[in-house]
Symmetry: C2
Subunit: 218 residues, 2 copies
DNA sequence: GATAGACTAAATGTTGACATTAAAACAATC
DNA sequence: GATTGTTTTAATGTCAACATTTAGTCTATC
């Protein structure tokens, strides 16, 4: 009856724990005790351990044999490295998106831009809501039609970025700049100009990284 | 007594299964039965499942809930996507390596080149031994001092590339071209020329991808 | 002969208990 | 009082059994 593969307990745990880490419910650097978590969530340790292994693969937790796991600590150094990786991957996927996206997918990009624009007008000068920003970038990422880069970005980079933004006020996506840059990226993709899309996306991310470099304390 | 964290059964299984997949002992697309593997390796299913979750994070196997896991199938399309991801990440890390590598690390790069050169002379025109090629690239990758990119390359990209090369004769690293290009990359890093290192590395990988594009059947 | 349904078997998902190791608490000595 | 050694406690690592779902087989009916 259910077309998509049914959720398993261990995959539900993965999502639950991922969100708890992103929102800071589990503090950075804190130890995650299996026994305590298992009692707390009312599950056995088997599926819990599997979920933990998956989160390990997402860079959200670090494992030391015989000692347990800890939530990753987002130091300034690590965040800047994350943005370097993001710059390399997402500029490439933007170039691919310019070549690969269907006209329907580009339509959707415009729709997402409209939503952001409307939100801007209504809440003038307010920070862009994170959800709109993510939706735009994910649409570009999926449009590149490269499963390897897509996976690296959505599973290993974006969760960390969401975690960082969620837990640091100064990191919220800022002002109208992002919207302008999103329009430029959309234009480049629409023109099927891979080079322009790549350069524009690279600049977009580079600026975000430089803002962090300036504002984040060590 | 043992300084480094002691190996656990599940981490040993991860390595064992990884190698078995890379070498083609487990065929591409074949199903990995937990019960059979557990008997075969004389371990219980718990640690085995954890190892499988880790290999999932390495892109070596794919999991379908309630159905089990299969070894990844390296189609031409996937291989080309892997090389696109590699190009984006490794060109960036080459730029970083030009800025970050210590002189000792650059020394080691020269040493690795010498080994390759000597091997070339003795086995003239023969294919470069894969090990030498990996050693060179890994040295550059670690030299970039970016843990995020390093992890993505060594854990998610290179295992797939090793698997691809190991199982396809035409994919073996070829001739003296690679050595020449390795020398160019080393030169750029030595000169602390990040842009040149990035461009040279990008070309190096791009050429490899184009060779695959031409030679690999669909 | 083909198709639909019930039944069987084997696999994955999950649980609880056991074993071993690391951390914590305590005691004893310098 | 601090430090070293011992004991205790609790956590991680591992195992074996149970539950549930899926795939296959067989049978019955059209």
């Amino acid at each position: 009856m259910n077309a998509r593969p049914s959720e398993t307990l261990s995959s539900e745990l993965t999502s639950t724990l991922r969100d708890a880490i992103i929102t800071g419910e589990f503090k950075q650097g804190s130890k995650l005790s299996e026994t305590r978590l298992a009692k707390q969530l009312n599950v056995s340790r088997g599926p819990l351990r599997e979920a933990i292994r998956r989160l390990e693969g997402m860079n959200l937790i670090q494992h030391v044999p015989q000692q347990g796991v800890r939530v990753v600590t987002l130091t300034k150094e690590l965040i800047l490295q994350i943005y370097e990786a993001r710059e390399a991957l997402e500029s490439k996927i933007a170039a691919l998106a310019a070549e690969q996206m269907s006209s329907q997918e580009i339509e959707e990009l415009h729709r997402l831009l409209d939503v952001q624009t409307r939100h801007m007008r209504e809440h003038e000068a307010a920070a862009m809501p994170a959800e709109g920003d993510y939706a735009f970038h994910e649409q570009v990422i999926r449009g590149g039609k490269n499963k390897v880069i897509e996976r690296a970005l959505l599973f290993e980079i974006y969760n960390l970025i969401k975690m960082f933004r969620y837990q640091n006020e100064f990191a919220h996506t800022s002002t109208s700049n992002a919207l302008i840059e999103h329009r430029q990226i959309t234009y480049a993709i629409e023109q099927r100009d891979a080079v322009l899309a790549e350069v524009t996306m690279r600049q977009h991310i580079k600026r975000a990284r430089e803002r962090i470099e300036r504002r984040m304390p060590d």
